[in-house]
Symmetry: C2
Subunit: 161 residues, 2 copies
DNA sequence: GGGCAAATGTTGCATTTGAAACAGTTTTCG
DNA sequence: CGAAAACTGTTTCAAATGCAACATTTGCCC
């Protein structure tokens, strides 16, 4: 079988190419890693989150979170405080500088993403959206039995905010 | 905006989750990295390739190819020889051991991928296929002007085999 | 209550990765 | 012909990453 016809390969390659287009913006122009970008994204919307909420809404493991948060704190884009109720946990909050930076970056990243997506016929775009959602459900279904962090976003059922 | 609703995020997360399911097979059970897997995949189909053909059909850069090939050679899964016609180039060929290993791994990887894809309704699977192909074209269209390795597989036009 | 297991975040260490420098070969052009 | 430019694969060095150990805090169970 030709590798170009192997669907998992095609998906991985396309996803990487798409991602690279966005990293070129928030990475090169704003100095954010992918993990930092995701944390800022979450915090910009929520304002502040504790570690548990964050773990539920992110596809990052604890080491990635810890390191990305350290860097964001060094850059004064977020603050980290130990929670009084459970001193193992942390409360993450975005700073004004973090909000500003994220908003500027998001404008450009969103524009770049839209530029690519709008280069697709509307029907194809709808198909992509539908297919990705279905694949996510399929992975969850097939891997749900086991425990391992097989997939990603909070699925309807477990949690609600 | 909620990050879970941001399409680029969803695509990246789903693609990673899918990929992780397959790496769990060829990585954990057969000790192959993603790059080694891809090289073996190409060579199993072609038998042997020189560096130029390989560069065209792979989404790996020259450093990744060099390192993956070194490891595959150490494991005696491929052979590397300097080309007589142009001593800058290499000829890569899969060994019998490499073929055996790849075929066994491919059986399991393919089965795992099919298990997930077949957990999707046929219509959704078709939508995914269509959407991914369209996204690939869109990225190529938007980035084609510039030179950088923006995307992936050989598109109709440049080469033929 | 008190010790033991579980949970959480951080750190250390070895490996991997990426970008640039490098070495060898070929092509170009005067 | 011959020097310079271009091309290819490898190596080097710093940064990123993954995994396991670690330290701290909490919950459990007697």
């Amino acid at each position: 079988m030709r590798i170009e016809a192997f669907f998992p390969y095609r998906l991985a390659v396309v996803a990487e190419a798409f991602s690279r287009q966005l990293v070129a913006v928030y990475g090169r122009e704003y100095g954010l890693s992918r993990e930092e970008w995701r944390l800022l994204f979450l915090l910009e919307e929520a304002g502040s989150l504790d570690s548990l909420q964050l773990a539920q809404r992110t596809s990052l493991d604890k080491v990635q979170v810890s390191r990305a948060a350290s860097r964001l704190e060094e850059k004064a884009l977020i603050t980290r405080t130990v929670l009084g109720s459970d001193r193992r946990l942390r409360n993450y909050a975005i700073t004004e500088a973090g909000r500003d930076l994220f908003r500027r970056a998001f404008d450009q990243v969103g524009a770049r993403a839209d530029e690519i997506l709008e280069a697709m016929p509307a029907r194809d775009r709808a198909a992509l959206e539908r297919g990705v959602a279905a694949l996510d459900r399929a992975i969850a279904r097939v891997t749900e039995p086991e425990t391992g962090h097989g997939t990603a976003f909070p699925r309807p059922g477990p949690i609600e905010d």
